[in-house]
């Protein structure tokens, strides 16, 4: 078992080092890193803007590039959070709390150094877990029928919508909206046109790229225009500054390990977002620390642990996406969408039928994380300068890329119209405090969920109990019910506390 995994990993390195694949991987990392640093753009915007490029690529190169963008932008997000106190990327918001005070004390470079080492360490552990657990999960996954697939998707959606940012009920509502968007187009079973409003451009469904760019590009621009504060500072960073002192390194060691474990745990739970992971890691450090009063005023433990958590979670998140075909969050949903565009259905058979994608991706994680570690050191001074690039030049240029990217999806201007409409919808939803990330999750899972729901009930002759009669499926349903019950309990408990605090 283990030898087999190692042999496959060796093969994966071969795939990842093919010049063509390596080139796209590096391209993705650098672009992702850059976009992650820039305020107002994030992993999602970067991935959606570059998604059209993947049409012309081989599936392996496409996946490697997208993955590179993703973790590249995570490193970048940490930079702007720590050095400039810009929580532009929610998962890194915690890094501001202690990272920025340390930057004010002149230790910014060392904090970045620690954050990067912690990220690399956590990612490596996450990759190891991925290597050894994916084949195991695949064995289980082969037993999955329609009922099991539906139940696990339900669990993922409920967890994703209730445990990410904001109110759980609102999370569920927008996820349902995402499911509905996924229905638009031709029904696979009967060929009936659904919600196309007579527009031929909608017969193939809403374009994934248009949806992602609308929600995470245009929607964000609409909200940020003229409201973005540019934080220019004469920050200078040299390579020498990035070396932490012996004491700082010592104090970061155990937080780094604890953070990694928190990340692994949340990665294994489907649907939990990266933001909650980093906050839990931070809270945990705060609890176990000998001097909790230092937190918020520059405790290096408060940077090392959340950064490690977000990176180990990221790696583990790939497991259900690749082995079950069920994405854990919106980034994974986009990754899955890219594979589907290439005509590849992720699932238990992926490891066997496309070993180059699976093992190449894993190997490229290592190559990419190492590259980032090496790249980031000299590039940081450039990133710091770029951070001062004004938003007023940034968003019109990004808008152009979005428009051209959507056009290139089908060589038609209809998709550009789609992105406009979806962008407005996204802005309205964000304004009303809905978290739009789960819309994408629902959108990608929607058609699969409907298929499996129909198939499961067709097989059981309309008996709804089929979902609890199969043991694996029953387990997922029970977990889902538990999650909802827990949310209701928390809600009641909070309501009680509130009335106690302020009798009205």
């Amino acid at each position: 078992m283990i030898e087999q995994s190692l042999a496959s990993l060796w093969y994966g390195f071969g795939v990842a080092f093919e010049p063509h694949n390596l080139m796209w991987s590096i391209f993705g990392i650098v672009v992702g890193n850059l976009m992650g640093v820039l305020p107002g753009l994030g992993a999602m915007a970067a991935m959606s803007i570059l998604l059209p490029l993947t049409y012309a690529m081989s599936p392996v190169a496409a996946v490697l590039m997208l993955a590179g963008i993703f973790y590249g932008s995570m490193y970048g997000g940490a930079i702007s959070a720590i050095l400039l106190n810009l929580p532009v990327h929610p998962p890194h918001a915690v890094a501001c709390l202690d990272g920025y005070p340390l930057t004010m004390k002149g230790r910014g470079g060392a904090v970045l150094g620690i954050a990067m080492v912690a990220s690399f360490f956590a990612a490596s552990i996450g990759i190891l877990v991925m290597i050894f657990f994916s084949p195991l999960l695949v064995k289980v996954a082969f037993k999955f029928g329609a009922a099991e697939l539906f139940s696990v998707m339900l669990l993922g959606l409920v967890a994703g919508s209730t445990m990410s940012k904001g109110s759980p009920v609102k999370g569920i509502a927008v996820t349902l909206f995402g499911l509905l968007l996924g229905i638009v187009g031709t029904d696979a079973n009967t060929g009936a046109m659904r919600f196309t409003f007579g527009m031929p451009g909608l017969e193939d469904g809403i374009n994934l790229i248009a949806l992602a760019m609308g929600l995470f590009g245009v929607g964000e621009f609409l909200l940020h225009v003229n409201r973005m504060k540019v934080v220019g500072s004469g920050l200078k960073m040299r390579l020498r500054d990035m070396r932490p002192t012996r004491d700082e390194a010592r104090r970061s060691f155990f937080p780094m390990i604890r953070g990694t474990l928190v990340g692994l745990f949340f990665g294994a739970l489907p649907g939990t977002g990266p933001t909650i992971t980093t906050f839990v890691a931070y809270a945990l450090e705060n609890k176990v620390a000998k001097n909790p009063e230092k937190f918020g005023h520059g405790a290096i433990e408060g940077v090392a642990s959340p950064e490690a958590a977000s990176h180990s979670k990221t790696q583990v998140d790939f497991i259900p996406t690749m082995t079950l075909g069920i994405p854990g969050d919106e980034v994974m949903a986009l990754m899955l969408g890219a594979l589907l565009i290439q005509g590849i259905q992720p699932g238990p058979q992926l490891i066997v039928s496309h070993p180059d994608i699976f093992w190449g991706l894993i190997a490229s994680f290592w190559v990419g994380n190492l590259l980032l570690l090496v790249l980031n050191m000299p590039l940081i001074s450039i990133w710091v300068k770029l951070l001062q690039a004004p938003y007023r030049y940034l968003f019109p240029s990004a808008l152009l890329f979005i428009a051209i990217g959507c056009y290139s999806a089908n060589n038609s201007l209809f998709e550009v119209g789609e992105v406009l409409v979806l962008g407005i919808v996204g802005a309205v939803l964000i304004y009303l405090d809905f978290s739009v990330a789960t819309v994408l999750l629902g959108f990608v899972l929607g058609p699969m969920m409907e298929q499996n729901f129909r198939r499961a009930l067709l097989l059981s002759h309309g008996d709804l109990f089929t979902f609890v009669e199969h043991p694996i499926s029953a387990g997922f349903i029970a977990a889902t019910a538990l999650l909802i019950a827990a949310q209701i309990l928390v809600f009641i408990w909070k309501g009680k506390r509130k009335t106690l605090e302020q009798p009205a």
Partner: protein
Amino acid sequence: MLGSPTKLIRRGKTRNLRERSINKDYYGGVLIIIIGLGAVFGGMSYQIGTLSEMGPGFFPAAVGTLMVLTGAIIAAEGLRRKTVATDHDPPPEWRGWLCIVGGIVAFIVLGEYGGLLPATFGIVFISALGDRQNTVKNAAALAVAGCMVSTIIFWWMLQLQFPLLRWS
């Protein structure tokens, strides 16, 4: 500052620690109810079928029903918390919004009748004007730079199927 991390997560946006406005919950809920009702009626017109032989309308109708339910909970929650202080959102940014939307519309119209170059110029120029700090000169310069990028990277290097100029 981080006495209660869960509270920070709950609030939706980390930067916003104030109580949420009642209107946002109420109107958000109503919006979800309307969309849900649309899905239910749409689903009903596509044939619902039975549980064992589902028609194309079953799933949309089911999703729509759930949306109406959740929307009702959200709206009720919004009404219940009427006494809570409201959110002080920044004033509406009509100029920015109009220019971004106008820019994309310009791209579609100019792309249809003029080609890639006028479309590029239109989207960059108009949307750049949405930022109050940009002057007409700035915006024009940025738009010209955009045209060069469009021509060199997209049209020439990536072979985008979009004529630079078209007459019809």
